[in-house]
Symmetry: C2
Subunit: 160 residues, 2 copies
DNA sequence: GTCGCTGCAAAGTCTTTGCAGAGAG
DNA sequence: CTCTCTGCAAAGACTTTGCAGCGAC
């Protein structure tokens, strides 16, 4: 897959997301504003899992002219979360982080040293989870799983 | 297993916990106070996963004479968490909850309607997790997994 | 034009910290 | 006795909310 193909796929994917967002707003009598677009764009283009604060910083940096307030970031994230377009993650003391929910389902592995988050999926675990919920009489809705450990770069740093 | 046996086992288990706690305090030049004992006792005797606030309420209720401050609850929970005697869980918007870590490892299944938490263990999942961490180059330390769904009592309520 | 949206600042939560007196070792 | 703990209240961090002017539709 060439870099060019990647770019095209990302564009298509983002446009889909954007039009879903616009539809969502329209359906609820809400307005499509530059601030809301920028927040969605930053969430999409950043590979990180963002806190409201880091997202706000990023926006201030990339679009200083907008002078976006942190309150708007919080309000938009709530809106997106309520509509299931983003998911919030709360791991330990590191505060709440957000990621776009449109991406495929996945779980997280977190470095306890540097806070880096990687993603993974495992079908076998997914299957077992369904079975467990069933055995306990639960109607399963979703799940989340985190593995905590030390990532390769941090392991190397520690050896020095 | 009789009720009597249960009681005895619980007593033995609690005494072990208590002496571990005392040892921990001694090792660090800290003092064993009534407040600290009561906090450990409440954590042990409650089957719930407690928030600092609910734990504080519980203590006020059972030991009103102590007039324990919420600050002490926070300070003791931090102490216990740092020493790995309790584990904190943060599920969604429901805030941080604490449970005794001395219990065997287990994961959680949470009812999204009533907030009830059940526990489970699954060896197959545990095994897969180790393998995944290995594949990603992580040195695994621990993990946590949550399944969200609707518990049986809530399912029944909803049908009515 | 209307009505929702935004930035600002004020108000809420939840958690931590400084302090002076109380209490464990 | 010493030095840590505790309760209290004040201070912090993070998030939400009220408001007046702005901007999408």
């Amino acid at each position: 897959m060439s870099a060019n193909t990647d770019f095209t796929e990302r564009t298509v994917e983002y446009n889909k997301l954007l039009s879903d967002f616009k539809q969502l707003l329209r359906d609820n009598g809400l307005k499509f504003t530059i601030q809301r677009e920028v927040i969605l764009e930053m969430l999409y283009s950043s590979d990180e899992h963002l806190t409201p604060e880091s997202l706000h910083h990023l926006i201030q940096e990339k679009h200083p002219d907008l002078n976006t307030g942190i309150a708007t970031v919080y309000r938009t994230l709530s809106l997106l979360e309520d509509s299931d377009m983003v998911t919030s993650l709360s791991f330990g003391a590191q505060g709440k982080k957000y990621e776009l929910g449109a991406k495929d389902h996945h779980d997280h592995i977190i470095c306890t040293q540097c806070g880096a988050i990687s993603e993974f999926v495992d079908d076998e675990i997914e299957t077992r989870q369904k079975k467990i919920a069933e055995e306990l009489g639960f109607l399963i809705q979703e799940h989340s799983m985190q593995i905590y450990g030390i990532c390769l770069p941090c392991q190397r740093k520690m050896k020095k």
